[in-house]
């Protein structure tokens, strides 16, 4: 049996761990608020962008539509972009995204398609490297600060280049949708061909839109930019989701540590009392023997 001193040390170390998890929880809570704000601030831009693209797309779906909008007609070359956080200690947050991506990749491989992978975030790279090392063509870091356009631009340029060079037909992005603080949903978002919601097209009441330059030229500039916007908003949601997941993981850890301290303290007190009783019996029976 562990000596009393060992038990005291164990209680001390659990308490120290509890202090750390408590601090991490509070830091995550503070960062979550900021991350939620920036995810919210990015939303109007993404929504307006989607509305504008839907408006344009409605008018020109047909032969002249750019490939980035309607796809190449093939499904063979799949490019999978997996976005996670850089760090762990957030429960199953990163793993859930990677698992969704891995299921998708395995299904595509089974269907005989070619899959290549771009990872955003260290965790995505580390976890996918084990099984798909030769399929990863590029890895980016999510960065410790809130993602900005400057971080996203090289990623979307790389994706656009892959697509324009014919090495990708379909591009799918995996990230975690921030539903609420307690619920983040691993989600697949199709980047190319663009996923257009035609229901948001504004009714112009018969008024004819004028375009300057032409619709096709505008779309050609707009679609690559839409890539960036989609990736940015996904990364912002990821960021908020990461801190939310970390917050609840650390909250659980703190609570578990508390329970452990209670259980250990109880055990410690019992053994201490048992020892005192034993010593008393020894003294009394020693005195009686005299």
């Amino acid at each position: 049996m562990a000596s009393l001193k060992d038990m005291r040390n164990q209680i001390g170390s659990v308490k120290a761990t509890q202090k750390i998890t408590k601090a991490m929880q509070m830091v995550a809570a503070a960062k979550l608020r900021k991350a939620q704000d920036s995810a919210q601030n990015a939303r109007p831009y993404a929504q307006k962008m989607a509305a504008v693209i839907a408006n344009l797309a409605k008018g020109i779906i047909g032969d002249s539509a750019p490939a980035m909008l309607v796809g190449t007609g093939s499904q063979h070359n799949q490019l999978v972009v997996v976005a996670t956080g850089d760090r762990g200690l957030a429960g199953g947050f990163n793993t859930a995204i990677v698992r969704a991506a891995r299921d998708f990749i395995n299904a595509e491989l089974k269907a005989g398609r070619d899959v290549r992978i771009i990872t955003i975030g260290r965790k995505a790279r580390d976890q996918l490297k084990r099984t798909f090392a030769d399929r990863i063509i590029e890895s980016y870091e999510a960065g410790s600060k809130s993602p900005t356009m400057a971080v996203v631009r090289p990623i979307s340029e790389k994706i656009a280049a892959e697509f324009n060079d014919g090495r990708a037909d379909v591009v799918t992005l995996f990230y975690s949708r921030f539903q609420s603080v307690i619920s983040q949903v691993p989600t697949a978002k199709r980047l190319i061909p663009a996923d257009i919601d035609l229901s948001i097209v504004q009714d112009t009441h018969g008024a004819v839109y004028e375009y300057e330059p032409s619709e096709e030229e505008i779309l050609e500039v707009l679609l690559p930019r839409n890539l960036s916007v989609q990736i940015l908003s996904s990364m912002l949601e990821n960021n908020a989701g990461f801190y939310a997941a970390q917050m609840s993981a650390m909250d659980n850890a703190t609570r578990n540590a508390g329970e452990m301290v209670n259980a250990l303290t109880l055990k410690y007190n019992r053994s201490r009392q048992a020892q005192i009783t034993k010593e008393l019996i020894e003294i009394i029976s020693g005195a009686e023997a005299l």
Binding site: N41, K48, M49, N55, T148, A207, E212, P213, I218, L222
Partner: protein, 91 residues
């Protein structure tokens, strides 16, 4: 009173301006243009340059880089990849 134009200037990071104004002058890729209330639906890419928002005596200038302007009957929306307000010196 003349009709007002609803304008919003948004970047991926934040909404920089939203409100009812008299006039907006923006640097279209095919030339600078001005928009008043009840403008015909119209959409264009923007060149790098200043977007000037005029409302009464108030004049605000934003430097934008890479973006679009969309004018519909709901108003004008400027989507800028980068934008910042610069404060003019008053003469």
């Amino acid at each position: 009173m003349a009709d007002k134009l609803h304008v919003s200037l948004v970047t991926p990071e934040a909404t920089l301006f939203e409100g009812e104004v008299d006039q907006v002058v923006a640097p279209g890729s095919e030339g600078e243009f001005g928009v008043l209330a009840n403008h015909a639906p119209f959409m264009t890419t923007l060149a790098e340059g200043p977007v000037v928002i005029l409302d009464g005596d108030i004049r605000r200038v934003f430097q934008v880089r890479g973006g679009f302007a969309d004018v519909s009957e709901d108003g004008m929306t400027i989507l800028a990849e980068q934008a910042e307000e610069y404060l003019e010196t008053v003469h």
